[in-house]
């Protein structure tokens, strides 16, 4: 999986590419945990993300829980397959999807 963290003051954009699955989700969780402190606006750009399983959804949910207290979180550019997964799992209701 490709991960790219871009920080601009209190805003952080996380670009994800490839597969966010059981194998790669722990890496994202670790990196996110190290970078998230002080961030008030978190953006996940999923343009290049091809695949997400429940392990990846768990990381997005825990990030959302942190950002509910710390500020805002937005998920953008998800492809059709991933949007459908957000739909089926009710994540459309708990994530701010653009």
């Amino acid at each position: 999986m490709d991960m790219n963290f871009k920080k601009n003051g209190e805003e952080m954009t996380v670009e994800l590419g490839g597969r966010l699955d059981t194998t790669t989700a722990p890496d994202l969780e670790t990196k996110l945990g190290a970078e998230i402190s002080g961030v008030t606006n978190l953006i996940f750009d999923l343009e290049k993300l091809e695949y997400i399983s429940s392990a990846g959804l768990r990381v997005l949910l825990s990030a959302q829980k942190i950002m509910n207290r710390a500020g805002n979180m937005t998920v953008r550019n998800a492809n059709e397959s991933i949007r459908e997964i957000f739909d089926v799992t009710g994540f459309v209701e708990i994530l701010n999807i653009e």
Partner: protein, 139 residues
């Protein structure tokens, strides 16, 4: 019918996906359906790797069958001889809860149920047999 038997360990997920993927490549499975199938295989395999045998280790056999007619019905079954466990008996998660109320987890099997056309479980001769079916062509 094709099958593969491997250690029920998380690190083996890639091998299982390659086994399924080579068949999906051969029939030029549409990407959206392919992702649904891969997610289902990941969720089930990881469940078995996590719960069936630990702290001991054991094997899992994955069988794949494809009806080469207009339905292109793909059947995948997972067999293990670990602790008896029926994932279908578990209640579906409440997907209307807010982020705060949502437990982390419990979504995997629910995603499989929603994306596959059919799913069944049986415990036979000391083995858990979980079967999923997806119509890649016309149902």
């Amino acid at each position: 019918m094709k099958e593969i038997t491997l250690d029920a360990k998380k690190e083996k997920l890639g091998e299982v996906l390659d086994f399924i993927g080579s068949e999906l490549d051969r029939i030029s499975c549409p990407m959206k359906t392919r992702i649904q199938i891969e997610v289902a295989v990941e969720e089930i395999f990881i469940n078995i790797a996590t719960y069936a045998y630990p702290p001991e280790s054991g094997k899992v056999t994955v069988k794949l069958d494809l009806e080469e007619d207009s339905t292109m019905c793909l059947t995948i079954s997972f067999e293990d001889s670990g602790v008896p466990y029926d994932p279908l008996a578990k209640e579906d998660p409440d997907i209307t809860l807010s982020a705060e109320e949502r437990p982390i987890g419990g979504l995997g099997i629910f995603m499989v149920k929603k994306s596959m056309d059919d799913m069944d479980y049986e415990f036979r001769d000391g083995r858990n047999i979980l079967t999923i079916r997806k119509y890649i062509g016309q149902k």
